[in-house]
Amino acid sequence: MQTVIHVALSGHATAFQLDEDGYVSLRRYFERARAGLARDPDREEILRDLEQSIGEKLAVLPHAGGRVIAGHEVDSVLGQVGTVDPGSDNGQARRPPPMRPWRFCRIEQDKWIGGVCTGLAARSGVRVDWVRTIFILATVFTGGMMALVYLALVFALPVFRTRDDYEDMCRLSP
C-alpha cells in the first residue's frame, strides 16, 4: 500500500502527487523557510515564488504528469532550490527595532523612595535636589495628590540601575 499526497503549488494549475517522504520533505522545507523569513515583510510573496519554482522543477521531471513523485526526487529539487537565506538588510530594517528612546524612567542609584525623582533629574538635566523639592512642595499644595501621582509613576516607569545605564540606553537609541 502506498500513500499518495496531492499537493497544490502556487501558480501551478494541476496538483503534484507526492509520496509520503516527498510530502514530509516539502513541508519541512517550507516550515524552515517560513521561520527563516519571519522578519521579512515580503515573506508570503517569497514563499509563493519558491513554491512556483519548486513546481516548475517538479513539472519537468521525466514523466512527471500523472505519476507519483518519490521522496528522493523531491529532495533533489529542494537541494537545487537551496536553503532559504534571509540575507541581511544592510544592517537596517532586518534587525529587531532598536529600543525606543526612554523618555522617562526611574533610577535606583541614589534614590530616596522609588527613584522617580532621580529618573526625572536624569531626563531633564535638572539637579535631583530641585526635582525633589518641587515634588515635596507639590505634594503639600495638592493635599497629598502628588503622592498618588508618584505612586503611579513608580508602577508606570521603567527602571534603570544607575544613571550611566540610562544614559547608555539613550545613546544606543536613535
Partner: protein, 111 residues
C-alpha cells in the same frame, strides 16, 4: 584564498552582481540563476528570492508579470532609474577599489 573570507565577500557583492545581470534587459529569476550558474556567484532560489524582494523594497528594481508558454506567469525584473544609478555608482567604486588595492601593493616611487 580562504574559502570563508571569499564567501563573505561574494555574499556582499551578490546584490551588485544581480543589478548588473538585470541591467542587460528584463530578466526572470531562472535567467538570473542561469547567467550566474557557471560563475563565482552561482546561487539558488533560496538566496535569490529574498534578495530580489529586498531590492524591490529598496526600489532598485521592479517586476512585471508575464504569461509564459510553459507553466505559470513569471515575474520579469528590470532596473529602476534608482537601480541604474546604484549600479553606476558601484562600478565606479569597484574600479577605485581595485586601483587602490593595486597601488597599495606596489612600493611608492622614490623621488
Amino acid at each position: 584564498m580562504d574559502a570563508g573570507k571569499s564567501g563573505a565577500l561574494r555574499k556582499g557583492l551578490l546584490e551588485f552582481v544581480v543589478l548588473a545581470v538585470v541591467s542587460s534587459g528584463r530578466a526572470y529569476a531562472a535567467d538570473i540563476l542561469q547567467r550566474l550558474g557557471d560563475t563565482e556567484f552561482a546561487t539558488s532560489e533560496g538566496t535569490l528570492y529574498p534578495l530580489l524582494s529586498r531590492m524591490r523594497r529598496e526600489r532598485l528594481l521592479d517586476y512585471e508579470w508575464q504569461e509564459s508558454a510553459s507553466g505559470p506567469p513569471r515575474k520579469y525584473y528590470r532596473l529602476t532609474p534608482n537601480g541604474r544609478r546604484q549600479l553606476a555608482a558601484f562600478r565606479t567604486y569597484w574600479k577605485s577599489l581595485t586601483r587602490l588595492i593595486d597601488e597599495l601593493g606596489t612600493p611608492p616611487c622614490k623621488p
